[in-house]
Every structure is written in C-alpha cells, then in structure tokens.
Point group: C2
Chain length 397, copies 2
C-alpha cells in the first residue's frame, strides 16, 4: 500500500490534497455486529460501519494515485463485510483486516474525526449563515480593498468566508476600466455565462429586454429565477454614477424567511411547499421554471430564495393552494418593502458590490440621466466555485 | 389598453411571443366568492381565482410592451379583490371589471385554456419521458444527419423533442474537424463551461485528472455529480477511433429507477431520501455535493439520476440510514451492470452521441492504443437551454 505517511505524531496528513490535522488519538477500538467503535484519548467515542470503512479505504489499490478517484467499487464486496481484526498500530493509526478478501486498510485519526457521522458531528459541520437586518449590516458590512483582494490570498479567503456567511460585501477602490469586474470574479473561478452574456452592462438601453436596462425602479428580486440554478454570486461594479437617484437596495432574504417562519407558519408552509412560476421570454429564448420562494433542505434549514415579481408566469398549482400561496407571496413582498430589512447604498464609481444572488434580494430606485450617466458592469460566479475556492485556500492554512 | 387583437375568430393570439391557439370559445361565465367559472362550447368548465386573473392581466399598464415583464405588483391590490362584472365580449373574449380600482382586464380563450390549473389540466401538461431498456433502444434509437440538424429548423425541433423524450440520440456524418461539436451544441444555445473547460478532449493523457483521460474502463456514471447542477446534455463527438476496445455503454437511469421503485421499495426509499456525497479534488479545485442517486419532484416523478462511483466522498448521513443506503446503492450499481438495460455502441469517426447527462448513465470499455488513436471531443449544454430552444422553435408551428 502506498499511503502518505506522517512521521511526526501531530502533523497533518494530506489525503487528496486536503490536510487532516490530528487533534485526538485512538485509545481503543472494539468490534460490533456492523460497526467499529473507537474511543479517543479525550474520552469521546465514534462509531463507523464496516461497509463505510471498507468503502473509504485510501490505499493505492482502492484510490488512484494519479486521478485521486476511487478505483474500488462497492459491488465488489458483500454488504455484510466485517473485520477479522482491528488494531491501533505503532503510528497510532487504526488498522483493519477484512474477512472478505484479507485486504488491510489504514485510517488516520484526523481523517476519521473529520468524517465522523454521528448526529452531533454532522450538526457541528452544518453551515450557519449570519443573517442581518438594516441596522446589523450598517455596522457589520464586510468591506475590502481591491488591491488586497487581487494580490493577497489571505485577504481573498477572508473576503470569501465573509461573503459565504453574510451573503454580501463591498470592494472599494476598484479600477474603473471596463471588464475589471471579471478580474475580481476570476480570483474565485470562471464566470457563469447566461442568456445575458458573460459580462452584462447595466445602463438604460433602447429596446431593453429587461427592466434592468431601463431607468425604472426595480422591485427587490433575485436574478434569473427563470433558470433551474439561479446564479450564485452576483458582481455589480460601478464605473460611473453621475445620475440622480438609482440608490441600490439590498435585503437578506434569509432574514425575511426566518421572520415568516416564526410569525406566520401558514404563509411559511405555502412559500416553502408551493412553487411560483417564473417566465422570461425574449425573441430568441423562452425560459421557464417553477420553484418555491423559500427553498429548504431535508433538515428544514433555509437554503435559497427565488423571487422576481416581474419575471413571473401564471401560477400552475392545485386550485386549493392558490389563495394560500398568494397570501404568503404578498406577505413576503410587503416585508421586502419594510425599511427595517433594507440596506441602502448609493454605489460610487470604483465600488463593487458582491452578494449571494440566491439569498440577498436587490433592487435600485429609478434614476434620471439629466445630471449624468450611470453604468454598472456585472457578472455571476456559481456557488460551487465559491465553496471550492474556500476549500483550496484553506488547504494552505 | 394596447392588447394585440385577433380579428379572425380562430387565429392564434401572440402574447409575449408565444401563440395561443383558440380551440374552444366561452359559452358563459359565472362569479363565485373567490373564483370565476367558465363554461366552454364543448361543455368543459374551468375555474380561475380572481386574484390569479388580476395577477395575469396582460394589458399595457400591467405588462411592459418593451420588456414583456410584469409591471403590476401583487401588493398593489387586496387578496380579496373581486369582479364587479364579468362578460364575454363581441370577439368572444372574457372581460372582467375589478372592484378595487375599476381596472378592466381582457382574457383570450386560447391563453386561458393553456393556463387552466385544474388537476386534470396540470396532469396533462406534465412531461412524461419514454424510458428504454436494451431491446427498446436497439430499434428506436433516434438518429439524425449532421447537415439536417445544422440547416433545417424542423429537423432541429424533431431532434430536440426526441432528445427530451428518450434522453439519447445519435448524429451521423458529422464533419471530423475539431470543434465541430460546438457547432451542433450552439444550434441549441451557449455551452456550459465547467472546470474541465468549454470543450473537453477525451483521450489518454499523462497526469490525467480524471479517469476519463486514461485508457481504463469506466463504470457507468453521470458527469459532474460533484456539482449542484449536473450538466444537462452531454455531447461526445468521435474524431478518431482506431483503438481496440473502448465501446460506449449507455443505460437509461430512469428505467433502472422505475425498476427499483416497483421491485425494491426499501431501496427506492433510501436512494431517493438519503444523499450520497460526491467529491472531486484537483490541484486548484475541490468540488463537493451531497445529493440522492434518484431525485424526485413533489409529485413523486423521477426527475434526475446522480451517480459516479469514482467521484464519491465519505457518506455523511445518520448512522441508522447507512446500511440501507449502501444496500440501495449496491443494487443500483448491479442493475447498471445488467445487460438487459445496456445499449452498446462503438463510436466511429463522424458520429456524435448526445444524451441527457442527468438521466442516461454512460461508460466505456477499456481500450488499447496499439492499433491506433482514440479521440472524442465533448461539451455540455444545460437543460434550461434545451427546453427554451424547443419553445422558441414551437412558436413558429
């Protein structure tokens, strides 16, 4: 077996690029019918199923050293596979010999702790966003400098963690050359293309195919709810803002969803269970998607907001659900209009606002071009890219 | 009100680019507490809520004639809005005068029928895929010619509808110049970029970062289950295939899921309710996603398959679910290996296979380069683009 070996007791072990720090060592292991139980040197215990352990053998026969992909296939062993022997070796790793094929597997303490799947361990690893209302964000808005984000990987990581946690951030002193927004976005990864292009220019245009491209006030919304996967991060870089009006307004949709969950359970049920229909028809495209305003995961956590009043199609739900969904939807919109939840900021040239488009609703007031021009440039980067970049940057810590 | 007017009784009415054909005309309308009931001239009836009708007024005050986006906001009227008057006008359209603001709305019969939301109407509009096993697809594989797909919009529509229905198709006599695959993909829309680039070259490479780029056999899988949204359509264009072996194998994952639903309800429950973990770690990326092997929608219909044994991470589910999920997972993999479900095809130069990557699992046998080279070029286009293109092409019918 060609396993990377940690020779010093407290070092990290690198598996597939990721370091796993060793905080605890095993004191003992015992074998049950389906599981192995490990007691750690602080008294904690962890339980692992035999089949789970066999599946996660990291040896060079089971995982390709070239591609880091699994070579072992789960059908190649019986579900009832068991340990004939389990022990702690001289390097304080857990060793198992299997009954099926006499294969021997080796597990690093730090890796096992990082992947323990007890209820409490899984709960601890769950992502918990920091939600905000108007006064919270006035004092806690994450602010960064363009040069630091571009040149310093530690700042980059700090910015991205703030962005994941708060869903919003402001970058200052950004070069106002067109396409600079792409430079910032590409510090994370590639840009998500849409039917509005790779980069989009937010300014009043003749023949506008979106309200964004007029001088009109926009109601609070997420972008592209008409698509199955709404774009993750939205970047809006202000190149010029000499017009009157046009203040940006941002609202934490998770905060509103929490508020509804607490105070209006019937509305919350409708907004999480019944889908709205979103349509966007243009000369050469016709996107439609049905999804709830508030998406939740299997644990009931709020994971996503989907909302743009001006991109809706006719509701297509059961007749007995129609009144409940309209009531919930009216409530949600009324709350987005409530100043307690709104963060108001007039973007100046050289400012770049970045926010989680699947959580933070945005809008702008109407503007008047008599006093001067208004030009923002924007793009999207998907959530997968954000979390991937955070993991890669954290490898170096 | 500036509504497009149909002057002949049976013409289509174009609303936001989409024509709505008039099959039935209203005989009578009656008003209830929350709804209007329409009786059509074939005896059918439809029910529409007042708030739904007010929300869907298509007049120029309510919908922008420039962007086709809704200007009306649902908070601007009370949930209890009612008709003071409802009638059928001389052009056989349904007219409503509202109690709240004396606004008058006009509804086209074809549009109302297309958006009727009774249980039976919604059921009728539901997409029903044509699933297949080995013998089904041997005789019914949708086959198209490159020149027809490129130059003929009717063929394009027919190909895309087959692709949506069967999840698979073969295009023949494709120019073997590199990047031709993009020409075919762009008949639908823009290409979905991933961490493997815009186009990817499937051939054996040194320092492969995926098993796809070796000569190894691949187990049946969907691509990029490590991402929240798996790419929709996958294009694989064969430029050269002089190697020995390397036969392509494709399996309809929906057929296997249906089989499990019928015969193994406990496994079906685990595969639909408990997520697998998918990981893909490279030097500069670290993608992870937890999702079930079989995704279903709120009506219980099978909507997506997510599966690549070689891209899995450690299961992170409740301990009491572990054995059930492994049992279901083993069963699913065993069925993908069953020749009854497999479509085998050795791609020749000039052939392009296109399939629904979120439904049809694919793999290839190992190959040997002693006899010659093997080079496929591939790309992805998302499902949103497929359905949008079908709708746009259908406007012309």
């Amino acid at each position: 077996m060609q396993i990377p070996v940690d020779t010093t007791a407290n070092s990290s072990t690198v598996i597939g690029f990721t370091p796993y720090k060793t905080a605890l060592f095993p004191l003992s292991v015992s074998c049950d019918a389906n599981t192995i139980n490990v007691t750690w040197d602080n008294g904690d215990t962890s339980l692992f199923h035999y089949i789970w352990l066999r599946d996660n053998c990291q040896c060079a026969k089971c995982v390709s050293t070239l591609t880091r992909e699994q070579l072992f296939e789960i059908c190649d062993v019986p579900l009832s596979i068991k340990a004939t022997k389990a022990w702690i070796n001289a390097q304080r790793r857990i060793m198992i010999e299997w009954d099926f094929d006499q294969h021997i597997s080796e597990y690093f303490p730090g890796w096992l702790q990082a992947h323990c799947y007890s209820d409490s361990a899984r709960l601890k690893r769950q992502f918990k966003p920091q939600t905000w209302n108007s006064s919270d964000i006035e004092t806690r808005l994450p602010q960064y400098q363009y040069n630091d984000v571009i040149w310093n990987d530690n700042t980059l990581l700090s910015w991205l963690k703030d962005l994941r946690s708060f869903g919003i951030s402001l970058i200052e002193n950004v070069d106002t050359t067109p396409d600079t927004v792409a430079k910032v976005a590409e510090r994370i990864s590639f840009i998500r293309q849409t039917n509005f292009g790779r980069l989009f220019d937010v300014k009043a245009k003749p023949n506008a195919n979106s309200a964004a491209y007029t001088t009109l006030r926009l109601p609070l919304h997420t972008d592209l709810p008409t698509r199955e996967l709404q774009p993750g991060l939205q970047f809006l870089h202000c190149l010029v803002n000499d017009a009157t009006g046009g203040e940006s307004i941002l609202v934490d949709g998770f905060k509103i969803a929490e508020h509804i969950r607490q105070h209006q359970p019937q509305a919350y049920l409708a907004l999480t269970q019944y889908p709205l229909s979103f349509y966007n028809k243009d000369a050469d495209s016709d996107y439609r998607f049905d999804g709830p305003v508030i998406a939740t995961n299997s644990r009931g956590a709020i994971t996503e907001i989907r909302m743009a009043n001006f991109l809706r199609g006719p509701l297509a739900i059961a007749p007995e659900q129609v009144m409940d969904l309209y009531a919930g939807y009216q409530l949600f919109i009324e709350l987005t209009r409530d100043s307690r939840f709104q963060f108001l900021h007039r973007l100046s040239a050289g400012e770049l606002i970045v926010f989680d488009n699947r959580r933070v609703l945005h809008s702008r007031n109407a503007f008047d071009l008599k006093q001067g021009a208004r030009h923002l440039q924007g793009c999207y980067v998907d959530t997968d890219e954000l979390t991937s970049r955070i993991r890669v940057l954290e490898r170096a810590l």
